[in-house]
C-alpha cells in the first residue's frame, strides 16, 4: 500500500519537475548476483550512480546476492516476483549459456527483459609475428590441427571457447575439435599467450586493447559488425574472412516475471534517457564501457537470436 502511494507520488513529482533531467523512476533496488567488486557489481553500481546523479531516478539501493554462479539471485527474483517490482537484476551473456546448459533451474526468458545497456566484442589475439591475419591462422590450423592451441578465460564450452570456435568455423576451419585451454583470469591467459603455451587467445576487446596498444599482441579481428573507434585498424571478423561471425558480450538488466508493462516501460525510459547525460559519460569513460543499447522488444529478440547461435554452436561442439 505504502509502495503504491510512493509510486503515485513519484508520478506526480515526475510530471512537475522538468528542470533538471526529468525524474522518471522513484527508486531502483539493484540485485547483483555476484560479490562486491566483480563485473556485475561495477555495472549495477555505475548505472545506479549515473541514474541518480542525473536525477532520472530518485534513489538507488544495491544488494549483492552471490551463489550458484548467479542462480541464487535469479531464483530469488522469480520466487518473490510479486514483491519485487522495484528491483532490477544485472546480468550478462553467461546467463544465456547457463540457461542452455540447464545448470539453472530457470531460464532467462522467465524474467522480464528490461534492456541491454553495455557490451564488449570478442577478439582473437596472437603474439606479433606469429600469424598476421585470421586466414594465416586458419590455414595453419587446417594444415595441422595439433599446431594450434586456443586459450581463453572461460571453461571449455564457455563464452570465450564458443566465440573463438565460432570465428574459426566461419573462416573455414573445423574448430569444433580445436584444443582449448581454460585459464582462470585474463591476465594468466595473456601470460600463456606470451609464453607460447597457446597460439591464439579468445578474449574481450576491452581486455586486449591495452595490450595491443603497448605492442605486445596483435588483434586478428573483433566480432563487431563495424570497426570501432577505439581500434580503427582492427578488422571485423567478417572483413577478415569469417563471414557473419558477430557476437556481443552484453550486460543488461532484468526484472521480476509478470512486471506490469507501465513499470517496465518506465525503467526502459529511464535507461534510454541516461545515455545523453554527462553523469553517465563520466561513469562510462571511467570503466571503458562500450554502449550497446538494446531496449525492450529489441532486447528480447536479441537474446533469442543469441540463444539460437550459442545453442547451435554448443550442439555442434558436443556441449549440449
Amino acid at each position: 500500500m505504502l509502495k503504491k502511494l510512493a509510486v503515485g507520488a513519484a508520478a506526480l513529482v515526475a510530471t512537475s519537475s522538468a528542470a533538471h533531467a526529468e525524474q522518471l523512476v522513484d527508486s531502483i533496488h539493484f540485485l547483483i548476483p555476484g560479490g562486491a567488486g566483480g563485473g556485475w557489481d561495477g555495472t549495477a553500481r555505475g548505472t545506479g550512480e549515473a541514474l541518480t546523479g542525473a536525477g532520472i531516478v530518485g534513489s538507488a539501493s544495491y544488494e549483492n546476492m552471490s551463489g550458484g554462479g548467479g542462480g541464487v539471485a535469479i531464483g530469488h527474483l522469480i520466487e518473490n516476483a510479486d514483491s519485487m517490482h522495484g528491483t532490477l537484476m544485472v546480468n550478462s551473456t553467461p546467463i544465456v549459456i547457463r540457461s542452455l546448459q540447464g545448470v539453472f533451474p530457470y531460464n532467462f526468458s522467465d524474467l522480464t527483459m528490461i534492456a541491454g545497456t553495455i557490451g564488449d566484442f570478442g577478439a582473437l589475439v596472437v603474439t606479433p609475428g606469429s600469424a598476421t591475419t585470421l586466414a594465416d591462422l586458419v590455414a595453419a590450423y587446417n594444415a595441422d590441427s595439433s599446431s594450434i592451441a586456443m586459450g581463453g578465460g572461460s571453461v571449455p564450452g564457455g563464452m570465450d571457447h564458443l566465440i573463438g570456435a565460432m570465428v574459426m568455423n566461419a573462416a573455414g576451419a573445423d574448430a569444433t575439435k580445436i584444443a582449448y585451454l581454460p585459464f582462470d583470469a585474463g591476465g594468466v591467459a595473456l601470460a600463456a599467450l606470451l609464453s607460447g603455451e597457446i597460439e591464439v587467445l579468445s578474449t574481450g576487446l576491452g581486455e586486449a586493447l591495452a595490450q595491443s596498444k603497448a605492442g605486445e599482441v596483435d588483434i586478428l579481428c573483433i566480432t563487431s559488425d563495424a570497426r570501432v573507434a577505439d581500434a580503427p585498424d582492427v578488422p571485423t571478423c567478417s572483413e577478415a574472412g569469417a563471414d557473419g561471425a558477430y557476437f556481443v558480450n552484453w550486460r543488461g538488466f532484468f526484472a521480476a516475471p509478470g512486471l506490469p508493462d507501465d513499470k517496465a516501460d518506465a525503467y526502459r525510459a529511464a535507461i534510454a534517457a541516461m545515455y545523453a547525460t554527462p553523469e553517465w559519460e563520466a561513469v562510462r569513460a571511467r570503466n571503458g564501457w562500450v554502449e550497446i543499447h538494446n531496449p525492450g522488444a529489441d532486447f528480447v529478440s536479441f537474446l533469442e537470436n543469441q540463444e539460437q547461435i550459442i545453442g547451435d554452436l554448443m550442439t555442434s561442439m558436443g556441449f549440449l
Partner: protein, 513 residues
C-alpha cells in the same frame, strides 16, 4: 638511475610520508579482521588513492596499505589461529604453537622481521632485475606450474607423525574433495558435488574453509573444556611481551630468510603462482632441508617454520609486481586490483612504462622499500600490546573471533550458505582433531588441489604433448618433479639410516634413549 632519483624525490615529501604511515596503520588493523586480506583492504582504499590524483603518491599509500594488511593477517594467524587469508595459513602452522607455548611476543617479532626482510630483499631483486625476470616468468607453462605445486605438496610431510602418515594423506585428499565442490575448476563446466543445491554451485570459498577449520573448532573446544587451552603464559605475562631474539636464534633465521626471499620472489614472479603457493613451498622446503632434530620441531612451534612462510609470502607479494609492471599482466588478485587503480589514475603498465613514465615505475618500487620500513617502525613498538590480546581470557576472546570470522565469511560473498558450510566444517574439524588427525593438510589439499587439476588438465589438453609426455618433453618440469621426489624420499632414507645408527648405539650402551 635518474628514474630512481625521481622516485626517491616523490617518496620523500611530507604528503607521501604521512600517507604511507596512514596506509600502514589502516592496513594493519583492517588486515587483522579474519576474511579481510590485502586484496579487500586495497579495494576499500582505491577510491581514496584515486582521489589523491598523483599516481606515485597514490601507489606509495597503497603499498603501505598492502604491507600493513599482510602483516595484520599474520598477527591473527599467530595469536588466535585464525588466518585471515590463504597466504598466512602457513604462518599459523608454527606461529600459533609458538604463541601457545608462551612466546607470543617472540613469534610476532619473528613474523615482523621476516616480513620486513622478505619484502625488502624482494624489492632489491625487483630493482636490480625486473626486466630479465619478466622473461623468465614467461618460461613457465602449465606443466611447470603443476610440478611446482607438487613440490609445495611435500609440505604435508611435516604433519605426518611417525606411523601416522596415512592420516596426513587422508586429510590432503579430504581437502582436495572439498575444493572440487561447485565450479572452482577451470575444467568444471558443470557444477560438481552440489547434489543439485544451487547455493553450493560457487563452491566453498577459501575464507569460509579457513574459518571453519581453525576458528570455529577453537570455540567448540572451549565449550567441551573451558579450562583447556587457557594461555600458558598467563602466570608469567613477562614472557608474552618478551620480544627478544637471541643471537643463536638470529643466526638460525638468517639463512632461512636468505633462501626464502629469493625463492619466494621467484615464485611470486610467475603469474600463475603467488604468495600462498610461495609460503607453502617455503615451509615445505625449509622443513625438508632442516637437520633431523630441527625438522621434528616443525608444526610444534619451530622458529624456521615461522620464518620461512613469513619471508616467502612477502617476497612473493613483491615479486608479483614484476609481471604487472613490465608486462601489464596481473599475476595475483592483489596486483589485479592495483592494476585497476593504476589504470584509473591514467597509468597503463606494460613494457613501455619504464621508458614512458620512469617516475611512476621507480616511484612504485621506492614505495615498497618505504612501506616495509614504515611498517616495521610502526609495528615493532606495538608488538607487546598486540601480544597482550592473548591475556584476554579465552571465554571472551574466542566468541569475538567467532563473530568476526562469521562477519568476514559472510561479507565476502553475502551468501548465507557460506555460514552453514563454516559451521559444518567446524564440527567435522573438531571431530577430526579429537581423532588426532592433522588439520593443516586439509588447507594444503584445498589450495593446491584445484590449481593442480587446472594445470594438469591444460597440460593434458595441449596438443604439443601426448598424454603425460610433457614430463620428459619439458626439462624444467622434470627437474621440479625430481626435486619433489627428493624432498619426500630424503627424510625417509635419512630416518632409516638414523634408526640403524641408534640401534647400534643402543646395543652397546643400554641406558640411552
Amino acid at each position: 638511475m635518474e628514474g630512481i632519483l625521481t622516485g626517491l624525490s616523490a617518496a620523500f615529501t611530507f604528503q607521501a610520508i604521512a600517507l604511507v604511515v596512514l596506509g600502514c596503520l589502516i592496513g594493519s588493523f583492517i588486515g587483522m579482521v579474519p576474511g579481510l586480506g590485502p586484496m579487500q583492504v586495497i579495494a576499500i582504499m582505491i577510491p581514496v588513492a584515486v582521489g589523491i590524483g598523483d599516481p606515485s603518491i597514490a601507489m606509495i599509500m597503497l603499498a603501505g596499505v598492502y604491507y600493513g594488511a599482510v602483516f595484520g593477517g599474520s598477527t591473527s594467524s599467530i595469536l588466535i589461529n585464525a588466518p585471515g587469508v590463504a597466504s598466512t595459513v602457513a604462518t599459523s602452522f608454527d606461529g600459533y604453537p609458538m604463541a601457545r607455548k608462551g612466546f607470543a611476543g617472540k613469534a610476532l617479532t619473528i613474523a615482523a622481521l621476516s616480513s620486513f626482510a622478505g619484502g625488502t630483499l624482494g624489492a632489491i631483486l625487483l630493482t636490480l632485475a625486473a626486466k630479465p625476470l619478466a622473461d623468465v616468468a614467461l618460461l613457465f607453462q602449465s606443466p611447470e606450474y603443476l610440478a611446482v605445486m607438487i613440490v609445495g605438496m611435500t609440505a604435508v610431510a611435516a604433519f605426518g607423525e611417525r606411523g601416522r602418515a596415512y592420516k596426513a594423506v587422508l586429510m590432503v585428499i579430504f581437502g582436495m574433495i572439498l575444493a572440487s565442490i561447485g565450479e572452482g575448476s577451470q575444467f568444471a563446466n558443470r557444477p560438481r558435488f552440489t547434489f543439485g543445491y544451487v547455493p553450493l554451485q560457487d563452491g566453498i570459498s577459501s575464507i569460509t574453509l579457513i574459518m571453519g577449520l581453525f576458528a570455529v573448532p577453537e570455540a567448540f573446544f572451549l565449550i567441551l573444556d573451558p579450562k583447556r587451552g587457557q594461555y600458558k603464559g598467563d602466570g608469567q605475562s613477562k614472557e608474552i611481551n618478551n620480544m627478544r631474539i637471541n643471537g643463536k636464534e638470529a643466526k638460525e633465521m638468517a639463512p632461512v630468510i636468505g633462501r626464502q626471499s629469493i625463492l619466494g620472489f621467484l615464485i611470486g614472479v610467475m603469474p600463475g603462482a603467488g604468495a600462498t603457493i610461495a609460503s607453502l613451498m617455503g615451509y615445505a622446503m625449509e622443513r625438508n632441508i632442516a637437520p633431523k632434530e630441527k625438522r621434528d620441531e616443525f608444526g610444534k612451534g619451530s622458529l624456521r617454520g615461522l620464518t620461512a612462510p613469513e619471508t616467502a609470502n612477502n617476497a612473493a607479494s613483491t615479486g608479483s609486481f614484476v609481471p604487472m609492471l613490465t608486462l601489464g599482466i596481473p599475476g595475483s588478485g592483489t596486483t589485479a586490483i592495483l592494476l585497476v587503480a593504476l589504470i584509473s589514475l591514467g597509468v597503463q603498465p606494460g613494457p613501455a612504462l619504464i621508458n614512458d613514465n620512469p617516475d611512476i615505475f621507480w616511484g612504485i618500487i621506492i614505495s615498497m622499500y618505504f612501506g616495509n620500513v614504515v611498517l616495521l617502525i610502526l609495528n615493532y613498538p606495538l608488538i607487546p600490546y598486540i601480544a597482550k590480546l592473548l591475556a584476554v581470557p579465552r571465554t571472551f576472546l574466542i566468541p569475538f573471533v567467532l563473530f568476526f570470522s562469521m562477519v568476514g565469511a559472510y561479507l565476502v560473498s553475502q551468501n548465507p550458505t557460506e555460514l552453514y558450510t563454516m559451521i559444518v566444517l567446524g564440527v567435522v574439524t573438531t571431530l577430526l582433531r579429537l581423532a588426532k588427525f592433522p588439520i593443516a593438510p586439509i588447507v594444503i589439499g584445498f589450495i593446491l588441489g584445484i590449481r593442480m587439476e587446472d594445470n594438469l588438465g591444460r597440460a593434458l589438453t595441449d596438443p604439443d604433448y601426448t598424454g603425460f609426455s610433457f614430463i620428459w618433453q619439458r626439462p624444467m618440469t622434470l627437474v621440479f618433479l625430481l626435486i619433489a621426489a627428493a624432498m619426500l624420499l630424503y627424510p625417509m632414507i635419512e630416518g632409516r639410516l638414523a634408526r640403524r645408527e641408534r640401534k647400534k648405539a643402543r646395543d652397546s650402551q643400554v641406558t640411552q634413549d
